[in-house]
Point group: C2
Chain length 310, copies 2
Amino acid sequence: MKYGFGVDLGGTTVKIAYFDETGNMMDKWEIPTRTENGGENILPDIAASIREYLSKNAVADSAILGIGIGVPGPVDGAGVVNRCVNLGWGVFNINETLETLTGFPVRAGNDATVAALGECWKGGGQGCKNIAFVTLGTGVGGGIVVDGKVVLGAHGAGGEIGHILLDPTETDTCGCGNHGCVEQYCSATGIVRVAKKYLAANDAPSCLRSIGNLTCKDVFDAGKAGDTAALAILEQVYDYMGRFLSAICCVTNPEVVVLGGGVSKAGAPLLEGAKRYFDKYAFHGCKNVRFELATLGNDAGAYGAFKLVL
Amino acid sequence: MKYGFGVDLGGTTVKIAYFDETGNMMDKWEIPTRTENGGENILPDIAASIREYLSKNAVADSAILGIGIGVPGPVDGAGVVNRCVNLGWGVFNINETLETLTGFPVRAGNDATVAALGECWKGGGQGCKNIAFVTLGTGVGGGIVVDGKVVLGAHGAGGEIGHILLDPTETDTCGCGNHGCVEQYCSATGIVRVAKKYLAANDAPSCLRSIGNLTCKDVFDAGKAGDTAALAILEQVYDYMGRFLSAICCVTNPEVVVLGGGVSKAGAPLLEGAKRYFDKYAFHGCKNVRFELATLGNDAGAYGAFKLVL
């Protein structure tokens, strides 16, 4: 039996997992992401942590297939990262750098696309070769899997579904500089924005009005408790979700849509609501799509990163 | 040198082309599509025409690699067609049927996706592995090419970009039964619809008002002649195009967008207009996309069909 590592590199922590070649996660741990000085310590820290793990557990180098790593930014097929704002990184080849540091083969990919690969392999999209994995978190990202492979696109920006235009009349600006992106309505922060706009434009009583620092979770919780305003807000959000998910399905006609990220913790109501509007808007030829929640949670990135090595 | 055939099966004519293995078109001709009696004569007619060509030109069977064919309906990877309304066809395996009739290997595909493959191979997307081919004709179809392969999707409905939702407030019904699809604004008939709505809602003088049976070409011609109303109508159309093309590019991040179909005969103004709104709406990571006109015209289907054989 051979083994390998899957690394999910985030802006505050690095998740590292040890797998056997069949994809069983044998172990996992975290180290802090040191972003100071242009993030120069990040890859050496990861290499040292992996080396330490191997020596502590007396694993021979010859048993290691390699290291897969998901990073929060665009990465091309050769492993060249093109700026990770959250890490302070510029442009360089991750594969080569981490190979030199560890002596093992390295495969890098974008974190969202790698998480998609993980869900496709061992999670909500298991057994499917065509999936749309949608990460509803602080932002909205995604991984589009066609014939078992994540679509990277010509410049590593495949699956950047958080910036599909939903409303050209939007006046607020998205983080990307455009107006009316999916992220402004369907991310955790987007849902709070939709809620605040609704509450400002309506006089309806709502338990949400008494909450000081409104969160996305508050909106879903209020909805579950039957708060009329919260339910109306969520209908708007589900409508936006149905629109962009149906657009994605017209392009690649996946077998399953997998919803992940922090927002997906809302569970069944989210799944049902998004599917209901999807069914309203989707082209009949692309309608035969299952909706699933991501099942690997925070581990999807590590699973998918290791899958890059296989 | 080996040879083969590329067949583009349409509702009124069948275009048959003879290629050498490098993709040089050596010859081409047409036969009528006999759709009576459930289209039972269509494949036998094609087989007879190919057999006649080979015997007339004294080509040995051993020199023939096979036959590729594009058909106007969904076709799965095994060659099973799932109803071609225009041909009277139900559900059967085209590959097997035409192989039995001719004795040559057969590969069938959907006509729009096959045309995309043709443009990718020898036309406007030549040399690119990631393209979005958009057919702006009576309807709007497309072929999304990822890593050199046309995306079929889970149920053969990949590239059904004509039914991406653009305007959920639309009251007119699309041919598919939904409301606000791309096809209602960007197809030849959609552009005429947009023009008529504009002319009814505005008092501005326009040469278009005196045209009895307004066509899409009339609108572009009037625009080229400087008609203010026509130019305003085309701005609306380009705006719609920019919106859905930017959505596609967020999903698969192609290197080039190739515009084909009858509407693309409008040429440079269409290309420039659609690109201008694309640049307005596209996510920065997906903006680095060339816009090209399809160059193979009516031959794209035959080229792409033959490519299926290789």
